[in-house]
């Protein structure tokens, strides 16, 4: 089976969906002849033409608004926001329009758009090329949020997102674009939305995480294994609507849980996971619900400053040791 990067998996999914369904179009800044600043749409403009791979002005409100309008008239637009940091001008369109269209029309209209955006820190991006934005949308009913961790999941999840009848935000951690390769089948397959996956089995502690956190957790689990602690890693893959059943099964097995994400700790997705576990799995827990997440600050440019904000493998290991001691 071919081994590919996560960004290649994005390109494969987009190409195959463009080929499969004439209503699929791509739009975004520099997605055309350049193929995107991260090369996610490389070659697609030449293959599918400027009608279906559309360079837009650097104006995210318009990108989202036009995508929504096209979706309301039968298309399946995939909009690229060049960096998730710049999704804010599109926030009103995504939250007040896309998310509410099915509900406000009593089910008559749907809004099948995908908004893709590279996000995350660790690539010397500074305040405006590093943010995690999932929690800003996680609060909003009507939005699905997908964050893949592996190339295999990425291709299958992006295809599911494009075929989904409702709006999907598809966030790709840019540090994972070329860092971890994996097997990706040629040709069509999908990975269902709202289905978590246990990426490593263990019996002592569960890590509930997504995106780059999965890689940190797997690395930490390997280290803890030498200390006689087996760690189960649950990759949420879709954070909204979340697969709490898979999380619950893992907690029932290990009775201890660590939640890991690179987004800020306060008001993050982990807070909701923790609250739900406290409400519904209290009897199963033998230790505190811990979180490893970014400190509540912005993401500075200098590596020494950034490293002081975002979580790393050592942080995950330390938290796992603390939990294992209970």
């Amino acid at each position: 089976m071919p081994v590919k990067t996560l960004i290649e998996a994005v390109t494969d999914a987009l190409a195959e969906e463009l080929e499969r369904d004439p209503s699929v179009i791509l739009l975004g800044e520099d997605v055309g002849a350049l193929g995107g600043v991260f090369r996610a749409t490389a070659g697609l403009h030449a293959r599918f033409g400027s009608g279906r791979v559309i360079d837009t002005p650097i104006a995210e409100l318009g990108i989202a608004g036009v995508a929504i309008g096209a979706a309301l008239n039968g298309m399946r637009p995939v909009a690229e926001i060049q960096f998730a940091d710049y999704i804010m001008p599109a926030y009103d369109q995504i939250v007040n329009e896309a998310a509410k269209i099915r509900y406000r029309s009593n089910g008559a209209f749907g809004c099948p758009i995908v908004v893709r955006a590279p996000f995350g820190a660790g690539v010397h991006g500074g305040l405006y090329h590093s943010q995690s934005v999932e929690a800003l949308f996680y609060h909003v009913p009507g939005l699905k949020i997908v964050i893949p961790s592996t190339p295999y999941d990425c291709k299958g999840l992006l295809k599911s997102a494009i075929r989904d009848p409702d709006p999907v935000l598809f966030f790709e951690h840019k540090r994972s674009y070329r860092r971890w390769k994996g097997e990706v089948p040629d040709g069509d397959y999908t990975v269902p939305l709202s289905l978590a996956e246990v990426k490593r089995e263990g019996k002592d502690v569960s890590v509930v995480t997504y995106g780059i956190g999965v890689h940190y957790a797997l690395e930490a689990a390997e280290l803890l294994d030498h200390e006689g602690v087996t760690v189960e890693v649950v990759d949420l893959r879709t954070i909204a609507p979340m697969d709490m059943a898979t999380v619950g099964r893992s907690i029932a097995k290990t009775n201890k849980v660590l939640i890991v994400h690179e987004d800020n700790k306060t008001g993050g997705v982990g807070a909701e996971v923790a609250a739900t576990l406290a409400e519904e799995y209290f009897e199963q827990l033998d230790g505190p619900i811990l979180r490893v997440a970014a400190a509540d600050a912005h993401l500075p440019y200098a590596p020494s400053l950034e490293a002081a904000i975002i979580p790393n493998v050592d942080d995950v290991v330390a938290a796992l040791r603390r939990l294992a001691a209970y």
């Binding site: 318009g62 608004g65 036009v66 008559a108």
Partner: protein, 341 residues
């Protein structure tokens, strides 16, 4: 001529020169009257405590009926805002639809009680759902036009909005994108000179909305929005232009807002008696009635007949709408996603 207005009856060359039959010309009058009658009924229902909120189309009817009449029903697309009841009616919505939604009934055909009144929405009628935000639907018309163009259809998509929306970023980004790609989109500003209470000089540094079109390299056309035939003529040109592939048009239809912004607003706080009298004198409905009389298409008898049939239609709809049940609370969680929750 029975009218007392000193204005010209129309600045257009007249219905026949515009290609409208006598019957069609009279039908436009009936549509304007129907919208006005439903609108007036909604204010009564509000005062009776049966409808919590009203946002009115009174004074905008000629702009809406005249422009929608230049479109193909069920084929072209309109993306209206909350003041567009006459547009929705002209595109196929019924008095019953308006009243069911006005009273937030469960069988309201647009939102089933999920949205405030006058949030028109119908895939069948090609009326695209909108929010209550000012201007955020403008790029949706652009996107709808993009979809039509990509599929090789000759559909035209039309966004309607007030002059307040012209100040919003959505106006700029939506029109700019449509102009770049020469999309079959038309942007109709129903310019009543009031954004709730705010006047144009606090909304825009340029006096004429139509002038903004030059920034996008598209035609900007100002028209008397109280002159249904003039609006029809301007809109027909814009539609032809769009279908030819020559891109969008911005239409600045100068209308009057005869009512307060909404049933929760008291416009006498910011409009003088003189102003209210002046806008009442520009009411588009009597003006068009005088035109039809001038051309022998309307007289006292036929006007009485039309009004009686409109009232009968609205009253029958009212009986049915009043009897309709409110939405079932067990459906409150439905339609967040396609999947049931």
């Amino acid at each position: 001529m029975t009218g007392t207005s000193d204005r010209a009856l129309t600045s257009s060359p007249g219905h026949a020169a515009l290609g409208l039959s006598d019957e069609h010309a009279v039908a436009l009058y009936r549509l304007m009257l129907l919208a006005r009658t439903v609108d007036e009924r909604q204010w009564i229902l509000n005062r009776q405590g049966r409808q919590a909120f009203v946002v009115s189309c009174q004074g905008h009817e000629a702009a809406q009926v005249g422009s929608v009449a230049a479109l193909r029903r069920g084929q072209d697309i309109i993306v209206p805002y909350y003041r567009d009841m006459a547009a929705a009616i002209t595109f196929g919505a019924s008095a019953l639809d308006c009243l069911l939604e006005g009273m937030s009934k469960g069988n309201g055909p647009w939102t089933g009680g999920r949205m405030m009144p006058s949030h028109f929405s119908s895939p069948e009628l090609k009326i695209i759902t909108g929010s209550s935000s000012v201007g955020s639907h403008i790029p949706h018309a652009t996107g709808a036009a993009l979809a039509a163009k990509l599929r090789g259809e000759d559909t035209v998509a039309v966004a309607y909005f007030g002059d307040g929306a012209v100040a919003a970023g959505n106006f700029h980004e939506g029109i700019s994108f449509a102009a770049i790609h020469r999309l079959p989109a038309i942007f109709v500003c129903e310019n009543n000179g009031l954004a709730i209470s705010t006047r144009p000089d606090a909304e825009s540094p340029v006096a004429r909305v139509a002038d903004r079109a030059s920034a996008y390299g598209i035609p900007g056309v100002e028209v008397d929005g109280t002159d249904v035939l003039a609006v029809y003529g301007v809109m027909r040109e814009a539609v032809e232009r769009a279908r030819r592939g020559d891109g969008p048009t911005l239409i600045d239809a100068r209308v009057v807002r005869l009512t307060a912004h909404s049933s929760d607003d008291d416009h006498t706080r910011y409009r003088s008696r003189d102003e209210l009298a002046a806008v009442a004198a520009r009411d588009p409905i009597p003006r068009y009635g005088w035109y039809l009389r001038e051309y022998g298409l309307l007289d006292d008898d036929s006007e009485r007949e039309i009004k009686a049939s409109v009232v009968a239609e609205v009253e029958a709809a009212l009986v049915e709408a009043l009897a309709a049940p409110p939405p079932d609370p067990s459906t409150a969680l439905a339609h967040v996603f396609v999947e049931a929750r």
